[in-house]
């Protein structure tokens, strides 16, 4: 069953066709990897769907509703959340406050000026549970700016997860972290996708991660979709291997 669908989605930056008439879809409960060389249009596509960029043409349908011109906060309310390629957390807030803020936003409580954030036990308990799920509970009272790169990546994903999305975009969730930290991050991503029955799209360059964890792979090249299939189908696709890796499938 289709959760998200784009139809002829297009974005030009001058003469560069960042996203060129892309038909892309995500099904309920799947973990999809979006791959391609640098400049292929992966992040631009995520930016268009999440609302960071406005498309030049085309439509984005989420659960059948047109969200093409919807503001970011309405897309989040509809169930689309994302993390960023460069880790973006709120450095001067405590780790717990980072997650609590996402919950306050989800619950529409950030309009409250005259009540203490720390006195909302339900929100703080939920935030603490999410940190526990992500293995960050020991860092709850530390400023997020003091976390390691791997922990910041996890917190970035936890922020998006705390919004209770139906579709989660993770832009290079394992980039810039040590090999040792990659598996825990991806295990958590897989776990929340499977247990929370949400869909996730990961933009990733690490092919080990892509082929190990994803249900389906979409390959982009020069703004267009080059191939779409299961990891096995993509591994055997000669066009993909020669374009992306410069090798033949046998190699």
């Amino acid at each position: 069953m289709v959760l998200l669908e784009t139809k002829s989605l297009t974005k030009y930056f001058g003469d560069t066709h960042a996203v060129d008439r892309v038909h892309f879809s995500v099904a309920h409960g799947e973990l999809l990897a979006l791959i391609g060389s640098n400049g292929a249009g992966k992040t631009s596509l995520v930016n268009l769907i999440s609302g960071l960029l406005r498309p030049d043409s085309g439509t984005i349908l989420f659960q059948g509703a047109d969200v093409t011109t919807m503001p970011v906060h309405d897309r989040i309310r509809a169930g689309i959340a994302r993390s960023f390629q460069l880790v973006t957390v709120f450095d001067q807030l405590d780790t717990l406050d980072n997650v609590a803020l996402a919950i306050f936003c989800r619950e529409g409580k950030t309009r409250r000026l005259l009540s203490l954030a720390s006195s909302d036990h339900a929100v703080r308990n939920e935030a603490f549970e999410i940190l526990r799920e992500f293995g960050l509970e020991a860092k709850a009272s530390q400023p997020a700016g003091g976390l390691s790169q791997g922990e910041r990546k996890l917190l970035d994903i936890a922020l998006a997860y705390a919004l209770r999305p139906k579709l989660l975009f993770l832009d290079e969730p394992t980039s810039g972290v040590s090999t040792r930290e990659k598996a825990p991050i991806m295990n958590i991503v897989t776990s929340i996708v499977r247990s929370g029955k949400i869909s996730a799209v990961i933009v990733e360059h690490d092919m080990d991660v892509v082929f190990r964890y994803s249900d389906r792979i979409v390959v982009m090249h020069e703004g267009a979709i080059l191939a779409d299939g299961t990891p096995d189908e993509i591994r055997r696709n000669e066009q993909v291997t020669t374009t992306l890796l410069g090798t033949s499938p046998s190699q």
Partner: protein, 327 residues
């Protein structure tokens, strides 16, 4: 782990001794010193409002004289055109006028950040200054408008009471109560979910938007609250000063509000309060001792930026932390 920190308890424990000192101080010091303290508390209210934008939202305004001045001129107009001298009416008028201007200017400014925001706030405040300067038949021009001693809570000032005694006693306590209420309200605001959203905007605007914070709207509300605090300060300031002139709308006064906040430290809640009070003493004594008082303040500002970038409160906090770790 108990996820509920004892924030309010800790804050109350440090606020109560300060409130007690401020309450009993007028019994121990000369009336003139008490009026200086009243000025300091008023500047502290303006700086608290200003710091909601600088310290908590990451926006440096160079136009807060506009809202401080609107509060002051609103009082002067109430006296001039309605012949009312009730302090409560002054407060209502001052808050409404400064709030209206802050709402309008904020709507225009919050779409911008960094230098563009600063310049736009400065330019808009200069528009108000030029209006006050040129429309002398309304504003009194450079002569300004006089404001008499107000009645407090419906009780008029007895004519036989000397003005200095009134200002150093009844008016001081009036200012003190409003200061305590305003500071408590600001403390709650910065620790509220709204305050956390502002801090998120300060730390990373794009990420804040992608957890669902409506960045422009929240900045605008912060701007409005900040302007109202500055307006409240202007409203309290004008009966103390007895006169309002266009100087109070000039951008150089906005610079003073920035100075209060940087002096005290914009990264702490107490910083702007300390900065407002200390700056007032610093300027008063510098003016009283040398004709080169601006140079004294300039040197202080340079030293502050070079040696104490965290301001008085920030530096004191760091020293205390080091002491605690050492013992």
């Amino acid at each position: 782990m108990n996820p509920i920190p004892a924030l309010p308890k800790r804050a109350l424990l440090s606020a109560i001794p300060i409130a007690v000192i401020l309450f009993f101080l007028p019994l121990l010091i000369a009336p003139y010193q008490v009026t200086l303290l009243a000025y300091g508390l008023i500047f502290a209210i303006a700086a608290l409002g200003f710091n909601l934008l600088l310290g908590y939202t990451g926006l440096l305004s160079f136009g807060h004289s506009a809202y401080f001045g609107m509060g002051a001129y609103a009082v002067a107009f109430i006296v001039k055109y309605f012949n009312i001298t009730s302090m409560e009416v002054f407060l209502l008028g001052g808050i409404l006028a400064s709030g209206a201007i802050a709402a309008l200017f904020g709507f225009l400014c919050v779409r911008y950040t960094r230098i563009y925001f600063g310049i736009l706030t400065l330019a808009l405040s200069q528009v108000l200054w030029s209006l006050a300067f040129k429309f002398y038949w309304v504003t009194g021009g450079t002569d300004g408008l006089r404001v008499p001693t107000p009645s407090l809570l419906g009780v008029a000032n007895p004519e036989r009471e000397e003005k200095m005694i009134f200002l150093a006693h009844r008016y001081y306590y009036y200012v003190l109560v409003i200061f305590l209420v305003a500071a408590s309200a600001m403390w709650v605001i910065v620790h509220s979910p709204f305050g956390k959203a502002l801090q998120a905007i300060r730390d990373n605007e794009t990420r804040a938007e992608f957890v669902g914070v409506q960045v422009w709207r929240y900045r605008w509300i912060a701007f409005l609250v900040s302007g109202i605090y500055a307006g409240l300060a202007g409203t309290l300031w004008v009966p103390l000063n007895g006169l309002t002139t266009p100087d109070i709308l000039h951008w150089t006064f906005s610079g003073k509000i920035v100075f209060f906040t940087v002096l005290g430290g914009f990264q702490t809640f107490m910083g702007p309060i300390i900065g407002g009070v200390v700056y007032n003493y610093l300027e008063t004594y510098a003016v009283g001792h040398t004709v080169y008082w601006q140079m004294v303040l300039g040197v202080v500002l340079v030293l502050l930026v070079l040696v104490l970038p965290a301001g008085i409160a920030g530096t004191a906090g760091r020293l205390l932390l080091r002491l605690r770790r050492a013992t």
